[in-house]
Amino acid sequence: MKILEAKNIVAGYHKSEILHGVSIHLEHKEVVTIIGPNGAGKSTLLKALMGYINIFDGKVIWKGEDITHLKPYQKVKKGFGYVPQLGNVFPSLSVLENLQMGGFTQGKDTIKERMGRVFELFPILKQKLSAKAGTLSGGQRQMLGMARALMTDPELLLLDEPSAGLSPKASEEVFMTIADMHGRLEKSIIIIEQDAYQSLSISDRCYVLVMGKNEFEDEAQNILSNPKIKEAYLGG
């Protein structure tokens, strides 16, 4: 069952067009990776889906409802969770306060219950509740960013380069956690990633974007075993 459809998205910043008619879809409980060279419009696509930038043309359909022009906080209420590449935590707030803000739309009891679940996935956060988020390591911030997004129990998670700037070990931990989130919490996930090998290994399908357009689409395993695509987009 398709839960998200982005049809012919034309979008960009102010008046400059970055995406020239990109289409993607996502099935229920599916993990999809979007790859492509720098400037392909991957992050722009996530921002457009989330409602941060203007969609000049095209539609975003969420479970049959047109949500193209909803604002980000309205999309959170619909079931979207978003973890940006940079600025994924509130640095001056404590870890606890970050999680509380993640559950801003939820009641107190729900926040308590969700925190319990989040600590099962991210036990390190429980030990750092009173620490300012700005003092955490890159990997811990990424964990906190994902934990914050999970506080609303979203059906869909949009992850923008979750391993960016992380050490190989931290990156591996992050992808293990993403796989865990998908497995245990049954989330549908869209990942934008430079380290496409790790991302594809936990994905069902993959889209390749080039210059703001769809270039290619296939099962993740097929892409990993396709030498031409590997050479072109995964560095051989």
């Binding site: 989330m50 940006p84 935590v89 001056s92 739309t105």
Partner: protein, 306 residues
């Protein structure tokens, strides 16, 4: 004047300034522009209290509360009509616009009530006299209200969802939205809180002295100085800055500079030289310049983390 009297006067001044500087700094923190209409809105609040106190005969405390609410709501209207349309503009453009808004407010009040000073209907106060200092009941109230406002603001920021959402919006408005926070709603609350505090500050200053259309313009430098000295964008900095400025202004008038300047008779300066009271505002100017030169981010200047 005793040293303790100077300290008491400083605390009174700090309490008034803190109410104004706090609002200025939180608007800056969330909306990233220096609102030059801030003290003019305090003046508007002082005049709204005047309507209810002198015009309708209500007690000044009731008039001050009504004025704080009315001015807070009025600031939301101004935001919707002017500043909201400029959210994507740079700070300097919005700042200049706020100057325009301030001038418009000042001249509108002048057109309605005239340029002359007016007084609230407050009975004459018998001062409380001790061996070390004297203080009027009104001044005691100014300190109490100032301290209560600071405590209330601290509790708001750290123990309420709204306060945490305000801090989250200040940290990263885009991420706040991704957390389901309607940042425009938060901005509305920020305007209301900031300008209600400012209005209260304006009424307290008016009660101690008088109200006049230029009163907002007259206090703009001390208020900016307190906010910048503490570290603009940091509410606790605004409180600290107000206290530091209050002390500096009052000690500036208390110190005998003659003794400092003549170096024990080595230089031809009079033995007694005090800064005349009329030059009190100059102290804020000098402090502002020194702070901007030596430590532009202020005492508790917000270091951007992450």
């Amino acid at each position: 004047m005793t040293l303790i009297q100077v300290i008491v006067n400083s605390i009174i001044r700090a309490s008034e300034l803190a109410l104004l500087a706090l609002g200025l700094t939180i608007v800056y923190d969330i909306l990233k522009f220096a609102n030059f209409a801030h003290t003019e809105l305090a003046m508007v609040g002082a005049y709204i209290a005047f309507i209810f106190n002198v015009g309708l005969g209500l007690p000044i405390a009731v008039a001050a509360i009504i004025a704080a609410i009315a001015t807070g709501l009025f600031s939301i209207l101004i935001d919707r009509a002017v500043f909201k349309k400029m959210r994507e503009s740079t700070g300097i453009i919005v700042m200049v616009t706020s100057m325009g808004v301030g001038i418009a407010l000042r001249n509108t009040v002048r057109a309605i009530w005239g340029p002359d000073a007016q007084n609230y209907a407050v009975p004459l106060q018998k001062p409380i006299v001790t061996a070390w200092f004297r203080i009027t009941p009104l001044q005691v109230w100014i300190i109490v209200i100032g301290v209560l406002a600071m405590v209330a603001f601290y509790l708001l920021l750290h123990y309420t969802t709204l306060g945490k959402a305000m801090r989250a919006t200040s940290d990263d408005p885009a991420l706040a939205q991704a957390s389901g926070i309607a940042t425009e709603k938060i901005i509305t609350y920020v305007w209301f809180i900031a300008i209600s505090f400012a209005s209260l500050g304006g009424v307290l200053i008016g009660m101690e002295t008088y109200i006049q259309p230029v009163m907002g313009f007259a206090i703009i430098i001390p208020v900016f100085c307190a906010a910048i000295m503490g570290g603009i964008g940091n509410p606790y900095g605004a409180m600290l800055g107000a206290l530091a400025l209050g002390l500096a202004e009052n000690f500036g008038l208390y110190i005998n500079f003659g003794k400092v300047l003549n170096l024990g008779g080595l230089l031809p300066f009079s033995k007694d030289f005090y800064i005349p009271t009329g030059y009190k505002p100059a102290i804020s100017f000098i402090i502002l310049i020194v702070v901007l030169l030596v430590r532009p981010r202020g005492i508790l200047g917000k270091k951007k983390e992450g």
